[in-house]
Amino acid sequence: MGKFAAWAGYLVVLLGLPQLFDSVLAITIFNQMAIAIVFALSYNMLLGQGGMLSFGHAVYFGLGGFMAVHALVMIEFETVYFSITLIPLVGGLIGLIAAVFVGSFSTHKAGTVFAMISLGIGELMAASSLIFVSFFGGEAGVSADRTFGPPFFGIEFFQDVEIYYLSAGWVFVATAFMYLFTQTPAGRMANAVRDNPERAEFIGYSARRVRFISFCTSGFFAGVAGGLFALNYEFITEENLNAVTSGRVLLMAYIGGLGYFIGPIIGAVVLTLMNSLLSNYTELWMLYLGMMFVLTVLFLPRGFAGFIMMHQTAWLRGKLSSLFLPYLITGMPAIIFGGSILAAIEMLHHEGEPFGFLFINLDSGNTLHWLALTAFAAASYYACRRSLGQLNAAWEEANRVGDPTEGGPG
């Protein structure tokens, strides 16, 4: 019942978002999120569930997207006749075909060998996309127009919000199928092979075959994401299948949290928001993104989703509220400390000119500002370190198993 509620809630959020925020910017961001969610989930199928670290996942996304744009062009010139609502399926099929081909030799081993093959294939495809101009369109890419297809119940997809509803439908279906995949024997065995390929082989499963199935499914959904990209932007360039895109999806899945189904969704939402909103406020957002990524790997190895799930025990025991105050006492100085570091970085960046940071005006030429900033940073760092012990104690208390007052078994 809880699961049903979660899925219903997911659908309501997906469909309700454009009702709450209906500006052009919001719809653009929602569309980007939709693409990112499917792409990141498909990546998690490889790395989180299958244990295969890929540095070339954009290949399937990009190939799917390119074929989808070509399919749109074909619809426009009436070479083929079908509704553009099915375009993501075209992308998915191409992603699947590419994955079947590559997977036939790359899934032999997981680990470094797989990672290196994926890197090699990624670079090969990125380079080929610049050589084969007639299909990939060189640096300019290829473009199409989505509005020439047969109308879908009277909708001709002139507007982004119409595409959003289409994307939302696809996102929901794709998410549901990817979740169902984790529940199939193939999905369960993918976890087994990830954790211990030798044992999986002993109970009669070919580790290679299990990896191959995960890999192909993942390629299919990456292609679906590529198809959604094609529908949304109506053009695609070689940038969408090179190493930068492959790196970005790794970032999303990792920051969100590998190993949790919901993790990549969180990662996709957070990174898309940072991408579109933060870039309005600062030129340094890529630097901050890198810092966030490195800090996440260092301190939250299971990502945001992992951080949330850490509190499951405390919540089940009804002790989550006891953590609130310690979190506040440690969190406030931590936020102030982070804020002063960011302010210092911005001051270095805006050398010689005053600028607004949050609600304060800062000037890197002003020694007083530097002094105040240093004092803030030092004080908040000290406060944070001081209160860390208290937080740890509260954490231990909230998570202690076999609390004598509860009378449960030790």
Binding site: F55, H108, G120, I121, L124, M286, L287, V294, L298
Partner: protein, 316 residues
């Protein structure tokens, strides 16, 4: 024809030896920690940028001395305070961390030095033609690059196989617990090896900066190629990395210098296609065009047919 051959061989050697300087550190770190350091080329880039900043104040030679030390120190700090921490979460986390570090270093370099290309120059002392062959000059700086690289290879090889420190390092790689029981500080050895490996990358950056231009994308350009070399050479093998570096350097240099391509092959086969053929791009492909891709093609082929590389050991 001969002059093209001689010059592409020389250029290939320069590139190959430069690549080896990066690959040697990377392969050493791999055999030690079992993880490929994605950020290795970032240390190379840092070497070039540090040396550039130092050369503005103190000249090229001071940069050659100080920059690698700075890079090595930074590398050691990264190992001590970050990699060791991530190590507890497994290999994937380590690989992902170095990937993130590479990303962060590129952004940080743009933050401190800007996105434009830096005018990092080779020293005046070496700005003369070393010799002239077939009317073309071979600059003394390139000769200097070859000398440094060969010198480093010899020193490293000697240190690892003949010296006491080298023997302890080799033992620490295969039997860390035994070495620790003998009273050696194994984590310190790891940190030192990481520092030296990254310092080597720094040296490569210092001497390559003036030739290959110093810009924020320089790490990305070489990064994946170095990976290719280490994998083709056989993970953890210094000799294999040496052979693979020269191979890749020469391969790329010959491919760029040659003017062969699909049209020649088609001529030879007696085939002809019209320009409107849908695969026109394929029929007009030339070797210089695909030169940058060749290492990756080689990588994929090696991984499929001989996953252990040229000189790698069989996986346990």
């Amino acid at each position: 024809m001969l002059e093209v051959f001689v010059f592409s061989t020389l250029n290939g050697l320069v590139t190959g030896l430069l690549l080896f300087m990066l690959a040697s550190g990377l392969t050493l770190i791999f055999s030690m920690m079992g993880v490929l350091n994605f950020a290795h080329a970032s240390f190379y880039m840092l070497g070039a940028y540090f040396a550039y900043s130092i050369s503005l104040k103190l000249g090229f030679w001071a940069g050659l001395l100080i920059a690698p030390l700075l890079v090595g120190a930074f590398g050691a700090l990264v190992e001590r305070y970050a990699l060791r921490r991530v190590h507890a979460h497994g290999h994937v986390a380590e690989l992902v961390f170095t990937f993130g570090l590479a990303f962060l270093v590129e952004e940080a370099v743009q933050f401190f030095w800007g996105a434009d290309t830096k005018n990092y120059q080779s020293p005046d002392l070496l700005n003369f033609p070393l010799f002239t062959l077939f009317g073309q000059e071979f600059s003394a700086y390139r000769g200097f690059m070859i000398t440094i690289s060969v010198g480093i290879f010899l020193a490293l090889y000697y240190m690892l196989t003949r010296s006491r420190i080298g023997i302890i390092i080799q033992a620490a790689i295969t039997h860390p617990h035994t070495v620790a029981n003998l009273g050696h500080n194994v984590p310190l050895i790891f940190m030192a090896v990481f520092g030296v490996g990254t310092a080597l990358a720094g040296v490569a950056g210092v001497i390559a900066g003036p030739v290959l231009t110093t810009f924020p994308g320089m790490a990305v350009v070489l990064g994946s190629i170095v990976f290719v070399i280490v994998v083709i050479g056989g993970l953890g093998s210094l000799g294999g990395a040496f052979v693979a570096s020269l191979m890749i350097g020469l391969l790329q240099s010959y491919a760029i210098a040659s003017n062969l391509g699909m049209p020649d092959l088609l001529n030879w086969l007696g085939l002809e296609f019209s320009r409107d053929h849908p695969l026109n791009d394929l029929w007009t492909l030339t070797l210089p065009q695909i030169a940058p891709v060749l290492p990756f093609l080689l990588l994929v082929l090696v991984l499929i047919f001989r996953p252990t590389g040229l000189a790698g050991k069989r996986e346990e």
